[in-house]
Symmetry: C2
Subunit: 338 residues, 2 copies
């Protein structure tokens, strides 16, 4: 697919989805739409991902174009009316439009009519499918090894670790696939269920459905985790993913130096070792799984030696091989889970 | 309120909601509708709850009547078309209709029109409110002590224990209220949120909202738990309630002799002591709470002495005072949590 990424006014630092697609998706990116940076290039900001021009609007993107992906999610997940000409323009050109907003483009009368008239797909990836149901406790029947990324908090690198592990496994010749559970992962992979939007009773069932759908076609599934089992607000989603995926192994993701739950600063984050015990004890009654590796986000540590020391200390704390997958690759962790 | 309870063909053994309302609700029950038992009385079957006539249909219920409560939930939660004349008849009489079905009566064109024409309330208690959001981690700010019932499985007596604890506390002069989280509890109490139907991300938030709404008006809140933290399908809901309620104490509910997860027979139920550790370890990072008491459902043990022995053994296993609240009252557990 050849895609354009809408990221007005937020590229690249606050355009997590757009950057994720640039870095990990199997799409050719025709352009990034950011009216404040028109004329610049992706490579000016992110030299390590595929390059593309940055343009002011959809009319500046050349053919052929298969899809426009909304690559930003403002606080609250609303739709910014300034994006309307781009979305409408894409549909008028016959492009599909994919978005991970709380506001569903498919419920917008203008967009729905344009999509129908031009035979395009409007895919709101956060809208759960209609056929979800409760888990049966059968995800462990699949042929693939199943690895789940878990965290000590939100935004500790679970999505990144998931993508890096799968990519490294494929480089080794292992048939690995990602099971995406959040909007960025879904937009990168082109399928998946936003598990935090399902009916609560179907949380585990949604993950089980995905694992069973893909688990016999691959040797390794890496399931993208969400939240943290110790999180005051999001632990339900984390718990449902843990029990629905019935993983063989866990990879614990932590951010170096983070001591309090992001946005819930009065809640200290328990030690990583305490997270290991909690995740393993909670997994065991449904499907035993141990924390086989650790992933430490050291992006706030400037010095490589200090980052390596932090990774080593993290590995010691959780008694498992650790890495920063972006900085030091995933070999040590991949060795541990395979 | 004076209410009628629809329980066609299922009263009393498979009419959990109707029996719950008869036993615990603060309503006068005018009649039970069960066409297969018309002419009998509630007291013929349940001598320990309020008596009422059993009638064939809504037209046999005398005035005044405030509400019809659908007191059964068939497998799948569908609406049985044979109930239509009763629901329509109630609305035509100006009665409210409350139901805990998956099928929402408010989405039924005939019922919606009748409710509007007769100025009645159609309350589908499983439909979550529109204003739910993520938890803030603030449920522990309320003035009331908060006790949560937790379980080793579904259907271990959490709803019953919740109701019995609150009733016993009130008998002692404690201003106690129930926070209902499932359809039967909601229909008994007349308010509440069916937590298993919320968006997964809002599970904890829904419980927090309820605790904060009522927690400053009472001395004791007893929060009705759901599922089990070890359940292959429903643990997400359990986890969200645990972290959303931020309880001061837990009461662990178990059924004597049950060894496998109901409906998931390949999953053994871990020992009650293991549940104590799991619930306490999982609660601690958000709000420390210990299992202060145990509730054992001994209804399948005929002999009182054997039941008492089972309760004692359960108390020893969890290292906390235990009872069967229906058989032996709640004094020992109430002493432990207050």
């Amino acid at each position: 697919m050849r895609v354009a990424l809408l990221a007005h006014e937020l590229f690249p630092d606050r355009a997590k989805t757009a950057v994720g697609v640039l870095r990990y998706a199997d799409h050719e990116v025709a352009a990034v739409l950011d009216r404040t940076r028109a004329g610049e290039r992706v490579a000016d900001h992110l030299p390590e991902v595929q390059d593309a021009p940055i343009v002011a609007g959809i009319d500046d993107v050349d053919e052929p174009l298969d899809a426009l992906i909304v690559g930003i999610a403002p606080i609250g997940g609303g739709f910014d009316e300034s994006w309307r000409p781009d979305v409408a323009g894409a549909l008028e050109r016959g492009c599909d439009v994919f978005a991970g907003l709380h506001y569903f483009l498919g419920d917008d009368e203008e967009f729905a009519a344009l999509a129908e008239a031009n035979d395009c797909r409007l895919w709101d990836v956060r809208r759960p499918p209609d056929d979800l149901t409760v888990a049966e406790g059968r995800a462990d029947e699949v042929a693939a090894d199943v690895v789940l990324t878990v965290g000590t908090d939100c935004s500790t690198g679970k999505m990144t670790t998931t993508m890096e592990l799968a990519a490294s496994a494929r480089e080794r010749g292992i048939d690995a696939a990602v099971v995406p559970t959040g909007q960025t992962g879904i937009l990168i992979e082109g399928w998946g269920i936003a598990v935090d939007r399902t009916v609560s009773d179907f949380t585990a069932g949604a993950v089980e459905q995905m694992v069973r759908e893909r688990g016999d076609d691959h040797d390794l599934l890496v399931v993208e985790g969400q939240g943290a089992i110790t999180h005051p607000a999001y632990s339900a989603v984390t718990c449902g993913i843990l029990h629905g995926a019935m993983p063989d192994a866990l990879v614990l993701c932590h951010e170096a130096g983070r001591e309090a739950v992001h946005g819930y600063e009065s809640f200290p984050i328990p030690d990583p070792s305490q997270h290991v015990a909690l995740y393993e004890d909670l997994a065991a009654p449904v499907a035993a799984a141990s924390v086989a590796g650790g992933s430490l986000n050291t992006s706030h540590i400037a010095d490589d030696a200090a980052a390596q020391a932090a990774v080593s200390a993290f590995g010691d704390a959780i008694d498992a091989p650790a890495t920063d997958p972006v900085r030091f690759g995933t070999d040590t962790v991949l060795d541990a889970i395979r």
